[in-house]
């Protein structure tokens, strides 16, 4: 039986919103590692994307290294927005340098 196996596609396949998972922001000391979770990224985050919470969930900040920040933003623009009726403004509150 033919199948495709996406070993690196760790999320998004069934996700209705397609938004990144809610990250656990370590209170106080911040998060020492880039939050990209498709593979282990040891980089220190320098950028952030603040996602607007929906249906009662809180807004949350995703802190990423510059490379994964670019990847995450492009994924939103090129993939998520294709099948979501929401806008950039309805999803993202702030972005850029941490």
């Amino acid at each position: 039986m033919s199948t495709t196996t996406a070993r690196t596609a760790g999320r998004g396949v069934q996700s209705v919103t397609g938004l990144p998972p809610v990250p656990d922001l370590g209170e106080g000391e911040g998060n020492p590692r880039c939050m990209w979770d498709w593979d282990v990224c040891p980089e220190t985050p320098t950028k952030k994307i603040v996602w607007r919470g929906n249906n009662g969930t809180e807004n949350y900040a995703e802190t990423l290294c510059a490379r994964h920040y670019a990847v995450e933003l492009s994924r939103f623009t090129e993939v998520h927005s294709v099948s979501c009726s929401g806008t950039v403004a309805s999803h993202i509150l702030a972005l850029g340098d941490m």
Partner: protein, 391 residues
């Protein structure tokens, strides 16, 4: 050189020109279809067969272990639109890479080119993965994974048209669930009347949780929107199930050993009410039912119109099953595929990027997002103007 040989070479050149022309049309810049990330396949790698009149073209791509190659022969005897392919293991059935639908032996030449390019890139990617310590299966690697808290996860998708019998579908579900203890099962809809009567034409949002054994489901119900006639005949999409049902339907499970600890499914029907509607073998109506051992719920899945995905995480403790109408799936899968081709280098963790490359990626991503935002704002202003300027 004999006259015959000259003619043969002439035919060969014409064919090669034709192939190149055909591929260039497909990969025309205006289409903006990037090649799969990291493929080394080019049109120039296609070699004409020894006998040009046989109209075969061969190509070698990288194999799944470092240094190995795989040889494929394309047969163009029935023209560019009906090309068949022989690989190292015999004839290859073409499977659409985005809908996962099996097409049979023939596809167009550009589709085979893309298929081979993807395979070349995938094979090269597999070398790296198996060479990476944490993906291997030896004891040392397994211990390393436990220590580091690395778990296995996977997502597998296929088209429901690929299954003839409920047993075939069930076998796929079991394989796709990998190490999970969840026992998913496909059933064939054999009695539409019994289904409609048992379901009382309603769909249910069902939950099961060991935290709350008193609430086994039926939290919300909505009308089943398909008529008995449609249930009997039409291969409809997921959306047609009911009012308010999107193009996506599915359920999720959390396993505790062999037992289902948590279950959540929308738009399903209690299996005990419709058990008589389902059987084994081939469905009499174009619907499958998908259920899980230990859960009294069944999801109707279109038998010829859906892409199903089975995903697990935490070594199989978390499982998600979903069905989506194939046209809707295709739109999303196309966007995803093009994105992964364009951003393949940035996504490839084995590639070290220079500072300048990272900066360029950030700039490009921010600019794209800003453009989309700007377009949406323009649109909003236009809409506001056309509705009299209010809001």
């Amino acid at each position: 050189m004999t006259v015959n040989e000259t003619v043969r070479i002439g035919q060969g050149q014409r064919l090669q020109e034709q192939i190149r022309h055909n591929l260039r049309m497909y990969w025309d810049d205006a289409w903006d279809v990037p090649l799969p990330y990291n493929t080394e396949l080019t049109v120039e790698r296609f070699m004409l067969g020894a006998d040009a009149r046989a109209e075969t073209v061969s190509v070698e791509i990288r194999g799944s272990t470092r240094g190995a190659t795989e040889r494929y022969v394309l047969h163009l005897a029935s023209g560019m639109e009906q090309v068949t392919c022989h690989g190292p293991e015999g004839p290859v059935d073409f499977v659409h890479p985005l809908t996962m639908r099996q097409w049979g032996p023939a596809a167009t030449l550009p589709l085979w080119f893309d298929w081979l390019a993807r395979r070349d890139a995938q094979n090269a990617h597999d070398w790296v993965c198996t060479e990476e310590h944490w993906e291997s299966e030896d004891i040392e690697a397994q211990l390393y994974r436990v220590e580091q808290g690395i778990v296995s996860f996977d997502a597998t998708a296929t088209h429901t048209a690929n299954f003839r019998t409920a047993e075939q579908f069930t076998e796929w579900l079991q394989q796709a669930a990998g190490p999970s203890t969840a026992r998913l099962k496909a059933l064939a809809l054999t009695d539409a009347q019994a289904f409609a009567a048992g379901a009382e034409l309603r769909l249910y949002c069902t939950r099961l949780s060991d935290q709350d054994p008193e609430a086994p489901g039926e939290l919300v119900s909505r009308p089943l929107d398909i008529t008995l006639g449609e249930l009997r005949q039409k291969p409809l999409g997921v959306r047609s199930l009911g009012v308010g049902v999107g193009d996506w339907a599915g359920f999720s499970l959390v396993m505790d050993g062999p037992a289902v600890e948590q279950f959540h499914g929308d738009d399903m029907v209690p299996l005990s009410r419709v058990q008589q509607a389902f059987g084994s073998g081939e469905p009499q109506y174009p619907w499958w039912g998908v259920t899980v051992a230990g859960v009294d719920s069944v999801l109707l899945v279109p038998a010829r119109k859906a892409v199903v995905t089975l995903r697990y995480d935490r070594d199989g403790a978390d499982v998600w099953f979903s069905a989506q109408s194939d046209d809707e799936h295709l739109n999303k899968a196309w966007a995803e595929e093009m994105w992964s081709r364009r951003w393949g280098r940035e996504l490839d963790h084995t590639v070290q990027l220079s500072q300048q490359e990272v900066q360029a990626a950030v700039q490009s991503a921010e600019q794209q997002l800003a453009e989309l935002h700007y377009q949406q704002e323009e649109q909003r202003n236009d809409d506001a103007t056309s509705t009299g300027g209010r809001q």
